[in-house]
Subunit: 257 residues, 4 copies
């Protein structure tokens, strides 16, 4: 199977480092780059673009709410025109910088609370998808499987890359089990690998009850916040390759499909 | 003579309005649009782009220091790579939004302390000019006559549009007389019109001592912070047109030259 | 009847003025001063304290969400410890500055979405009330009549000053009619004066259906965002005085009660 | 000799940790707590106050320029009234929070570029010292030996605690050797201990040329940015105690002197 591994990168800010981007860039095929609203700053973005280019990793914008202190994870209620323009502003900032540096920005994935809220709120998902389409209809829209965000992207005639999470349990309706529930997050690399393998074999996501919800998917989201997470990501990559799957960047993958 | 009138627009922020942009857009040919670091926010930028397009006014980025409270007017000391990336981030943000809305961004003019410092500091001016060139070598670089910024733009092979100020007195070396000196700012529309006319006839800027420093110039900077300023700008426009000069947007003008 | 007029002041930020504070200080007895998170900055706060002292107006902290662009009006979802500390931080900032300048800070009134959300959410109201009590149990807690915020303040054994709005219609349950509904905001000074008078005579708030919900109240909230608002506030003051009511600062009033 | 060890704490922000505060609190007697402008946020401040109280460490405000991205290390040019109010705002924020939590704030030490600039600029130093005095004349003013900041504190009749740096070389005039010069920073714990011991025995600071500039001093500044720094700090503490010196909090120490 042709697959993609994506992760969030460039989440440092000013004097504060976050994540082990150099090691993560050896694992993933596509990087979601913070655009300065919830994390990242112009210098961090520039370094992340340069490192991604060297590593052969494709990049996308990772726009978030304007909330550094809350890392874009706090729900905010914004009118549609604020939402549309804050997405386009962040897309432009990253696209312009990456264009200056010779690496095209090829996808978009909303961050944190912006993503979570839009996965359940169709009106909000539409605002985001249309903002992306008006910015550049050629961008790949990276959205969770079975989310309103994915539906909105399809309706906006964007190329939608569907993602699954290697380390998260799914509810009966295909949503992520809340982090507050026990078992929401798979802790070991082995569990993550088994989870991903089951979803590949099942042709869809596996719910906590063990049912298969059939769905296409293209990309697997992994994490790099700490050494353990990078290690897990590395082992997932290794397992996928050893099982004969091919790992591609998002633009390579979505061209093929 | 073919000339351009430029002014700073889009300097509102969130709930706080600034300037009378609708009236100013009837006067100027080109707008320098704040990019969110010293003023402006994504929604304000979007509205400013839409209004400029309707008015037939060309737009440029007006990047500034990251200092909302100080309106980008407080000197800050930044390393070259911070400077380069903060300029490119802001260029990208405005270019992306304006591209989404069907109006190309065609020029750049640094704001406030970023502009003032670079007018005297060649190294800083080079960083800015090269940041602009790497972003898009086709952008017009709007810089004060006889400034290091103008020299750096020329050396970076950018198209440099030279600007004079209708309401500011010039020192013997062609710099602006400090606002702290008496007579630094011309208060009446009549004085501004006479000043501009003298510079057009003299073929250069007129110093406080009354000497001519010969220099080409393309654009006249006017202001719109208050009703009086917009009125003065309007009268300068009227005087120029009645004297037979032609007023063009920056891309129209610099194509001609 | 002994009453108080309160309004939000010090809502300028950096280069952006807001409101006509000098005129409003001639009208109100107590000022709710923005603390830098949704509006205001240290210099604005300092000037607002100085002007309030000269005018004989008592001051209180007006803490808000950390959201300048949204003016603290956008709902944000924060954990309790973030909420508690952001309130105490803002109380401390204003109390310290006002203490330095010889004017004690004597009350607290949450701002915008922080206020609105806490009026309906008892858990959130408790966090705020306890944060205030731990900061200084002698502070007067200014809260809307019939709100969870008022109940939480009372339970925290704070002195609660209850406020009504001169220009807002009330629902059958005593909440404010949403601004999106027609008739939510009373537009004329006459309507506001009649509304206030009816509430004084009725001994409670008057709902849109014309019913009286009996409740004590101590303070009337007026506005100063524009010339019309200040004018209305001035006429409300005049009407109250001519009807024989006495207008006091919050510490004067709550000592009496 | 009675001495104090001080370090900067509470420099995390939102999702980004910085420093190993728990281990550093076992070493120092007094903590300079970031106040939210260059680092720290309300929740971080609250946790730092709580941890300092448990550890028996006295706390002081560490006000900085409003520049999170630059960590307050970028020179900014501010008018006197902006400077005064930004210092008082930060003092108030920390004092209010620490008062709420039962630990008094007992000293002040400016941070980063604010400190460095004021060490050489008497006018700026005066603004800061007077801002502190007007806030609370009982606060201890922690300033580098032989600095304009120390002189300004004395002239403002503040109790001035003079500090030396364990790991920094001094010029012939008593300033810190610029970090850009080789040898500016002492790398090993042994070198730091020898440096401190020489200054204690010499009764003043030791310049790079090996001369003694006689001066009283009360506190030694150590660092905790990384594991190595905390280790060095711990060894300095051990060496001082084994040499028979006594280590006190700033309020204990300055009461004695």
């Amino acid at each position: 199977m042709l697959l993609n591994l994506n992760a969030d990168l460039g989440e440092s800010f000013g004097p504060w480092p976050m994540g082990d981007d150099p090691r993560l860039l050896e694992v993933v095929n596509s990087a979601n780059v913070a655009c300065g609203f919830h994390a990242g700053d112009p210098l961090v973005m520039s370094k992340t673009i340069a490192a991604s280019r060297l590593a052969g990793v494709s990049i996308g914008a990772h726009p978030g709410f304007p909330d550094l202190q809350g890392f874009g994870r706090r729900a905010m209620s914004l009118p549609a025109d604020e939402l549309r323009t804050l997405v386009q502003y962040q897309l432009g900032a990253l696209a312009g910088m990456s264009h200056s540096m010779g690496l095209p920005m090829t996808h978009v994935k909303p961050h944190g609370a912006l993503n979570n809220m839009a996965c359940e709120d169709r009106a909000m998902a539409d605002v985001i998808a249309l903002a992306v389409r008006d910015f550049d209809p050629g961008l790949i829209f990276l959205a969770p499987v079975m989310s309103q965000l994915a539906v909105a992207g399809t309706d906006a005639r964007l190329t939608v890359a569907l993602e699954i999470f290697a380390d998260r349990a799914y509810t009966a309706s295909g949503a992520l089990v809340s982090r507050r529930q026990p078992g929401a997050v798979l802790e070991t690399a082995e569990a993550c690998i088994a989870h991903v393998q089951a979803m590949i074999e099942g042709g869809g996501i596996i719910t906590v009850e063990g049912n298969v919800l059939p769905t296409a998917f293209h990309s697997i989201c992994v994490h790099g916040d700490n050494a353990h997470a990078v290690d897990t990501a590395r082992q997932i990559r290794k397992a996928l390759l050893s099982q004969g799957h091919e790992l591609l960047t998002l633009p390579q993958l979505m061209d093929v499909n």
